[in-house]
Symmetry: C2
Subunit: 295 residues, 2 copies
């Protein structure tokens, strides 16, 4: 069931990016081609699936939810492009193909990331995403905060400081780092589904608790994958944390304890959905998938 | 008079960035310090002055107009940070001090640019910028389109293709390139002032014509500055176009013709403001300043 839901969203997000990124006739074509290379045909699309599945709890139509999902995915993709750059993680492989700066060049990768970043807000500001301007502005505010200095970018800097200045973090600090770096955007995906569903902020508490738990579980699973995963299936470089002597949930807790913790978080996440019926089954299955995935 | 207006906006934009960028206690502090280094205390602040001066025609309060101005300036600053990177223009000097990747490092520069990019939309989505969500969403849509693939980023790619693939442009192509690369953001500044002033789109025609003309004049003046300017006053590297054998308005038209064209565009821009009285004097003076500036 979850496999079908993932495959469906993957196809829909690809189609939407295809429509949002028509290649122009002039020499800026190279920019749009590079954006398409990075945005179409790769990725698990966990964030769009979270938006769509949360929105569906409240009867939101599929099309606007997918648009919000594509916006958050555009942010995710731009962050991967920039993180893969030689001056950052210097990765050659992403979703099983050469990273954007390898397939094109660094300047194109910087610029394509920037243009995908802008695209996210262009999509959310469009009335097709929601007829209600207040909802659109709330979507934008949520995504801006989750991706900027108080969210993803802030977490990425904490991570870089650890790598470059040899700062070592304890478990509470790693937890905060990951809540910013990975958790903020996953939480934004659930929040954006609730915004489209016109759920008032005070009614979002269980969904926010669910999102916080799966965000942390997601990162622990990523750390486990880095240690135990299969490079071919993952489609990206692994064993990097250990090579770099980096503190992760796995180095701080050990493999067994980390796996136990990830599973406990998933149980807790599912518990937060108790008020919902079978309509939340995808969100439940997605929580389990997050710790069991092999890529 | 214009000098006072520029100095006032410079001080106000610096204060606003200071307030928007408090340095946190954790290790993400380095990110916010880098954003402050690039955003505070440099730049002519032409774009914020355009927003504020246009908004004042319609009685908009100063604070919201400055917030919209700071948002567009955040986009401008992020684009300079990324353009200065070694993989792009590889510049060492900006506003008379080391570029961000020289003062910090490349990874920090990429990330600080990204976080300023997100900050622009965070600021615009905030009710303090406008109580009306429809105006906020219109500001965001305008800025997103002007800065993304159909605006600034698209123009930057056209410029890169010329540099790297040896494509040479004729005058209409250079005009289009510059309208995207520089003109789109200047036009967005005027448009955002009109949005805050609740001017309906059909009432914005003269302001849009003004913005289009000064945008082109601005770029011609920049090309002239590259040939004739004083490096010390400009606070950045000059003579780069010629070294790189690049097509510019000056190489295509010659110095005299280019200067004549810039002045004619300014006269035409001022002509579009005929319906406004002395309240538009700053916009008129700003148009003249754009072609007479030495930095």
């Amino acid at each position: 069931m979850l496999g079908d839901a993932i495959a469906r969203v993957q196809g829909e997000v690809d189609s939407l990016f295809d429509a949002l990124l028509p290649v122009p006739e002039d020499t800026s074509a190279r920019l749009i081609e590079a954006m398409r290379y990075a945005a179409i045909g790769g990725g698990k699309r966990v964030r769009p699936l979270l938006v769509v599945s949360t929105a569906s709890l409240f009867g939101v139509a599929r099309e606007p939810a997918l648009r919000a999902g594509a916006a958050i995915e555009a942010i995710h993709v731009y962050s991967l492009i920039h993180d893969d750059l030689p001056c950052m993680d210097d990765d050659d492989l992403r979703h099983g193909k050469p990273t954007l700066h390898k397939a094109y060049d660094e300047a194109t990768a910087v610029l394509a990331g920037d243009a995908l970043h802008a695209l996210a807000f262009e999509v959310l500001a469009d009335p097709e995403t929601s007829a209600d301007p207040f909802s659109r502005v709330e979507l934008i505010s949520t995504l801006g905060t989750a991706s900027g200095m108080s969210g993803m970018a802030g977490g990425q800097m904490m991570d870089m400081v650890a790598d470059e200045e040899g700062v070592t973090y304890d478990l509470p600090a790693i937890t905060r780092l990951q809540q910013l770096k990975t958790g903020a955007l996953l939480a934004a995906a659930v929040e954006m589904g609730a915004i489209l569903g016109k759920v008032p902020p005070q009614g979002r508490a269980p969904l926010r608790a669910y999102a916080r738990d799966i965000g942390l579980a997601f990162q622990i699973a990523d750390d486990l994958l880095d240690v135990e995963g299969d490079v071919e299936k993952a489609g990206k470089a692994l064993r990097k944390d250990n090579e770099q002597g980096k503190q992760t949930f796995v180095t701080l807790m050990g493999i067994d304890k980390a796996r136990e913790q990830a599973r406990a978080l998933v149980d807790q996440a599912v518990g937060h959905l108790a008020a919902y019926g079978p309509e939340a089954d995808i969100l439940r299955a997605l929580a389990r998938y997050i710790v069991e995935r092999d890529r």
